[in-house]
């Protein structure tokens, strides 16, 4: 299988997440949303030749860097942190994760914005 573009993967992961968001299947939803957002951030970073590393928390740092350098208008680092923590709680403990003051729909909308930005970066 040839490697897919990260922006395409981000869109596909988001499409897998949305049905789970609708029925509030937290494990499915936060896992796919997290993967979609990470792939979107990596896609934008690669487009701007910014190195992304394997650790999740370093990808969040990259998301902040993309925002601080005005490449992304929105800072997605906190959303990455929330989703990373949420997926660990959902998968490892089987509990409903605490999303703070956001709903799953709010987070999904934010991830969709990031995916659209990744697609735009790839199209340029």
């Amino acid at each position: 299988m040839s490697p897919k573009a990260k922006a395409q993967l981000a869109r596909e992961h988001l499409d897998r997440a949305l049905p789970a968001v609708a029925i509030e299947d937290y494990t499915e939803a936060v896992t796919w949303l997290f993967a979609a957002l990470e792939a979107a951030i990596v896609a934008v970073a690669e487009h701007h030749r910014i190195d992304t590393q394997k650790q999740h928390w370093k990808k969040a740092d990259v998301a902040k860097e993309l925002h601080n350098s005005a490449i992304l208008a929105h800072d997605f680092s906190d959303t990455l942190d929330v989703l990373n923590e949420a997926r660990k709680i959902a998968i490892y403990e089987g509990d409903v994760p605490d999303l703070g003051d956001q709903s799953l729909e709010d987070i999904a909308a934010g991830v969709e914005t990031a995916v659209e930005l990744a697609e735009q970066a790839g199209a340029r």
């Binding site: 897919k4 993967a35 650790q55």
Partner: protein
């Protein structure tokens, strides 16, 4: 360490104050040895903030406490007390805050992470809460809920298989590593062996005869496995779960 070691732990007895003091001192030494220099300041800030909120106990947990950090390790703590502010600190920090009551209820409900921290974590400070928790484990012969772990592993393996199918290598490595870790922990618990840190799981799996699963898990921790190798890893994980037999619906201490 296995179940019997914990049962024999001297601090299980309320009269063994000296033994407990030695354990806390040994943990302090271990923390000095196991913390990489670049994490010492972060550790100091966590301990300081935990004391400032009058937390009952703080435990350094996870691979750091076992001196088995890998490139993907977080810095994990269990904090018994109010949450502390960490947003201004490194993102690799993972502080799991819970109340004393929650600690006890999690132990009784068969949560393996809390029990792991009590058994293998390093006590940073403790007002007696950690000691009471260890006493509870010993007196009630508590063992993590194997069926719950197996169910989480099965769901995670299913998710990992679908991730592999997406062609996202980076995402698939994470999911397969997570699923194999869960399946390994479930299998080891079912065999009466308490799972250690993630980097130690392959050796523990090998010791009970699951060589291929051990190699597959190690590849997700240290290597860059291909999608085909990850798909095989999922199958080995499924074999681990299948080797456990039917669910028992009994959250209890395994026979040794």
């Amino acid at each position: 360490m296995n179940v019997k070691d914990v049962l024999a732990a001297p601090w299980a007895s309320s009269t063994e104050d000296d033994a407990w003091r030695r354990k806390v001192e040994a943990d302090a030494d271990q923390i000095e040895r196991c913390l990489p220099p670049e994490l010492e300041q972060l550790h100091g800030l966590v301990a300081e903030r935990a004391r400032l909120v009058n937390a009952k106990a703080l435990i350094l947990s996870g691979s750091t406490a076992r001196r088995r950090r890998t490139a993907i390790s977080d810095l994990d703590y269990h904090l018994v007390g109010p949450r502390i502010e960490t947003k201004d600190l490194s993102r690799e920090l993972d502080v799991h805050a819970l109340s004393e009551e929650k600690l006890e209820s999690e132990l009784l409900a068969g949560d393996d992470f809390v029990q792991w921290s009590l058994r293998f974590g390093c006590v940073v400070f403790d007002d007696g809460t950690v000691r009471n928790g260890l006493r509870l484990i010993a007196e009630r012969r508590l063992w993590p809920d194997i069926d719950r772990k197996r169910a989480h592993a099965a769901k995670s393996l299913h998710l990992a298989a679908r991730f592999v199918d997406t062609g996202d290598e980076d995402g698939a490595v994470v999911q397969v590593r997570t699923a194999l870790s869960l399946a390994s922990r479930a299998r080891l618990l079912g065999a009466g062996v308490f799972p250690l840190s993630r980097a130690e799981l392959p050796a523990q799996l090998q010791a009970i005869g699951h060589v291929q699963a051990a190699q597959a898990l190690a590849a997700t921790i240290y290597g860059s496995p291909s999608l085909a190798e990850l798909a095989a890893g999922v199958r080995y994980g499924e074999e681990l779960v299948a080797a456990m037999g039917e669910p028992t619906n009994v959250a209890g201490y395994p026979e040794q």
